[in-house]
Structures are given as C-alpha cells and as structure tokens.
C-alpha cells in the first residue's frame, strides 16, 4: 500500500489543532490535519436541527480585549495567526452572576465591578482580595517550568472566608478544571485572568465564526485537512514516532506528530512501545440542555449573560453521585451579550454529570432520563426568573456519552485528563500533546497551546 508522507501531522481539527496547523503551514511545513468527525471544532463545535443552529462547548469566549490592547493571550493569538481583531466580531458580555445561597456576586469585564461587589458583601476580605489580584497579575502562568500547586491552598492565604473562596473558584473550576475540588495554581491564574481580569464575549454567529476564520486561514496557506479520518494507531519504533495508521488501514508517515486527542487517548494508541504509567482519564463531564423559546430571557427577568448557580454552602466541583448534580449549574444566555444576533430566546443549562451512570443505561431509560433532566433544567430557569414559563419551542440535550461519541475524549471528560503534560512531551520522541492536556485552558488557551507547541516542536526544533 502506498503511503503519503508529511513533515508534521496534526491530530484533531479543534481549536488547538487548527491553530498549530496554521502556524506550520505559514512557514512552509508540509502539514496535514487529521479529523475523525466530518466537521471541525472538536470540543467547541456546532450542529443544526432544521433551520436552527447550535453551538457545542463555547458558552462565552474568555480573554476579552478591546482593539489595540497589548500583551494579552487574545492579541497573541491574533498576531500569531495573522487574524485581524475585527474578524472575530466580538460582542462583550453585559454582566454575569455567581449565585450562592447566602450571597451573590456579579462581575463584568471590568474587574473594579467585582472588587466593589466583594467589598460590599465581604468587607473584611477586600484587602486580601486586592492582594490576590496583584499576585495574579504578576504571576507567569504560562511558564512551562511551573510546578503543580494546589490553588485552594494558595488562595487561602489571601481569602480567609470560605464562602468567598468557593464563590471565586466556582466559575474558574467549572470552566476548566480537570481536577475535582481544586485546580493547579497556574491554571487558576489562567482562568482568573481570562474570566475576571480580561472578561467574556461572544463572537457574532457563535463558534462557527471562529472556526471558519481558522479554516479559511489554513486553506489560504495551502494546508491540507482530512475529515472522517479516524486515527487507529500511532506508529513508533525505537521510541520515535514514525507516523499514524487510520482506521481504514491507511498509513501516513511523519517524523513529528502533534496530537490534540488528549494525553491518555494519545498514549493508548501508541503501537510499538510499551507505555508505563498511563495517565488517568478525567472525571469531569457535563450534561447540557439547550432550549429555544418564543420569548427572550430578559422578558422573564433574566438579564445576566451567565449565571453560576450553587445551592449549597460550599461548591461541590466533583463527579456527582447520581446522574447529574441539580444543586449547581451554569446557565448561559446567548441573547444577553451586548449584541443579540438571535431571533429566538436561547437558554443553555449545564450540570456536572456522572459518565458511568449515563453510559450504563439502555436506550429507553437513557431517553427518559434525558427528558427528566430537561424538565429539571426548566424548573431551575423558573426558579431563577421567579416566573412560570411557556414550553420551549425547541429543546435538545446532550450528556457525557454524547461528548465521548463526538470528541473521543474518554468518559466525555471535556477538560481532559487530570494529568497534564505542560511541555507537551510524551515518552515517544516526536510525539507531542497539544490542547487541553497540555494544560492551557479555554478556547484562547487551546489556540495558544497549538501555537506554542507548533513553534517549539515544529518550527524552532530544526532551526537550531
């Protein structure tokens, strides 16, 4: 069988894979992007039902900047990929809320707003909060040599009030942590900066806008992309990567492979080398109910962009005991960004979920539980709006098994393995990890991961 050969293969046409492939194609590497699905996006993708268009993943884009702002992750991504600011068509958030039983804190894209909220609700904590912000501002969170440190231990030194700590951690954990209960301090800083210091926005048109920018850029550069190409094995000899074999048996040769499949997902496909200490599959997965209504959320009094809801004194960021945890949730209101580009009212409700429990059900039971969960979500919307609402005109639900089916992330773990490879290294020479398991978080983090790893292992390696 004849086999094709490339300088670099990039596995997965999600945010990190597309960004990495663009960088390599920019500097004339012979690169091929391999995607198992029929469209791009990975964990941040899209689909249509009838005339309705849906986003998967992206609630809001973090790391918001105004045009011309410098030295921020988003400006780095735009420069490295040569994408102009305007093309992202960013519409900033209005205001979001962290809702706990005793307190609520709202935040906007101006950190002063949150600081003021903390000062009002937790007056004895404000000095510590301001010091924490100062520490975060000067911390070099993307230094690849950083040690793994418990963020909760560090933050305790600044905030003695447990409720405030839990409230600050809540959005940061649920938007990125592969660990239960806690996160690595570098990742905490990445998330704190990207959500509280920089802020949230939505590209007009949703995730498609970003994906189409990336795909267009890559194709302009002559980059090759293969859809419906599922990787079966990563071929190694003498601990060096040689190429890949697709499910259809085709072999593709390359001396460098950048994989966004996830660390365990990548290593378990290695053929020709015994991997010791297999990284763990992540435990954090989610369900999401997407509702379209004939009214806009603001008409029932819901004007926030995001609501981080928690009905317990502390925040249980962990795989729940049951199918899902209805006592905490994230609600996303895509209409409530500064520009509302949608005809219908849309509300997305996310719960933490237990992969095994969803996996083990038979079809009929699965369907029934999905419906029950949708009803729970609707009741939560009513509770928050304090109004009874008419039935949605459309609803769709996905579960951890849906995530696994489309993304191949084991157990539907959207933030990947709790074991990260910060430098992208694997036991195999020439095989590197990009994306969520390299450890930069969010959509901007994923793109930065792809860019940094492509620079380091695709472009700089041979130039010296």
């Amino acid at each position: 069988m004849s086999s094709s050969s490339y300088d670099v293969l990039v596995i997965g046409a999600g945010m990190s894979g597309l960004a990495a492939a663009i960088r390599l194609a920019m500097y004339d590497k012979k690169v091929c992007l391999i995607e198992k699905h029929s469209i791009s996006g990975g964990l941040n993708s899209y689909y249509s039902r009838g005339k309705r268009r849906f986003d998967v993943g992206l609630h809001a884009l973090t790391n918001y900047i105004e045009k011309g702002e410098r030295r921020k992750p988003m400006s780095k991504v735009m420069k490295q990929l040569r994408l102009p600011y305007e093309d992202f068509k960013l519409s900033p958030q209005k205001q979001s809320k962290i809702l706990f039983p005793q307190h609520d804190l709202s935040f906007t894209n101006e950190i002063e707003h949150l600081t003021q909220e903390v000062a009002e609700s937790f007056p004895d904590q404000i000095d510590g909060f301001i010091q924490l912000i100062e520490k975060i501002k000067i911390f070099d969170e993307v230094n690849l040599d950083n040690e793994y440190v418990s963020a909760k231990e560090v933050v305790k030194n600044y905030l003695s009030d447990e409720t405030l700590r839990e409230m600050i951690f809540c959005p940061l954990l649920i938007y990125g942590s592969a660990w239960e209960h806690d996160m690595d301090f570098s990742q905490f800083v990445i998330m704190f900066k990207s959500i509280f210091l920089e802020g949230l926005s939505r590209p007009e048109g949703g995730v498609r806008t970003i994906l189409s920018l990336l795909e267009t850029r890559y194709k302009e550069l002559g980059g090759e992309i293969r859809y419906k190409a599922a990787v079966d094995k990563l071929l190694c000899s003498n601990q060096k990567i040689q190429g890949i074999r697709l499910k259809n048996g085709e072999e593709i040769i390359a001396s460098t492979v950048l994989s966004s499949m996830g660390l365990p997902e990548t290593l378990e496909r290695v053929e020709g080398h015994e991997i010791e200490n297999m990284p763990r599959a992540g435990k954090m997965s989610f369900t999401e109910s997407i509702f379209h209504f004939s009214f806009k959320p603001k008409e029932i009094g819901l004007e926030d962009t995001l609501i981080f809801y928690n009905d317990r004194p502390t925040y249980h960021y962990a795989c729940p005991q049951g199918l899902y945890d209805s006592e905490s949730a994230v609600l996303c209101f895509p209409n409530n960004f500064q520009k509302d580009d949608q005809v219908e009212g849309v509300i997305r409700t996310t719960f933490m979920a237990h992969y095994d429990k969803w996996k083990e059900m038979d079809k009929a039971e699965y369907k029934k539980e999905k419906e029950k969960m949708a009803q729970t979500s609707l009741r939560l919307i009513e509770k928050l709006s304090k109004k009874s609402i008419s039935d949605p005109v459309f609803k769709d639900v996905f579960t951890p098994t849906t995530v696994e089916r489309y993304t191949w992330h084991k157990r539907g773990a959207v933030y990947g393995s709790p074991d990260k490879s910060r430098k992208g290294l694997t036991p195999i020479q020439g095989l590197y990890v990009i994306g969520t398991d390299q450890g930069f978080l969010g959509i901007m983090g994923a793109m930065l991961s792809g860019i940094s790893m492509a620079n380091l292992y695709g472009l700089m390696k041979e130039s010296h």
Binding site: M78, Q80, R82
Partner: protein
C-alpha cells in the same frame, strides 16, 4: 545593499506580524519590544519571515541582535549582502 533597504525589509516584516501596530514612528535606537507589542513569539516570526522571504538564517544565539532597529540593520546587512 543600503542600510535603508534592510531597514525597510525589517519594517515590512514587523508591520505584517503586528497588524494593528503603527510602525511609522519607530525610534531606531530603542528596543523594539519597548515600543511595539512584540514578545518572544513575534521575534520568532521575524526570524521565520527572514528565512522564508529572504533565505536568511538567524541562529537562536543571535536573537539578541534583533533587539532594536539599528542593531537589526547592523546585524542583517552583511547577511543580506551574502545571499545576494
């Protein structure tokens, strides 16, 4: 090759990399990093563009030579002359 030509080449590359930056007022003797939004990733791009567009190789240990516009011109001029 004239110094002004080398300067223009570098300026064009920087303008391509930093799309949103105004490169017309650069002070040649000050560090580029202090005047423009350029980080180590961008310096890598200056090097990559020199190689791609002009076949000029800048080894990693020489990156500090690219700190200011005048040091860029000083360092790159003989390299441009060598590939001509």
């Amino acid at each position: 090759m004239e110094k002004t030509e080398v300067r223009q080449i570098v300026l064009d590359i920087i303008a391509d990399i930093a799309l949103d930056e105004d490169v017309t007022g650069i002070d040649d003797d000050k560090a580029l990093r202090d005047q423009l939004d350029l980080d180590s990733m961008d310096f890598l791009d200056i090097v990559m563009e020199l190689k791609k567009q002009h076949k000029i190789e800048v080894p990693q240990e020489d990156y500090p030579q690219l700190a200011s516009m005048s040091s860029c011109v000083e360092y790159l001029k003989p390299k441009f002359e060598a590939v001509q």
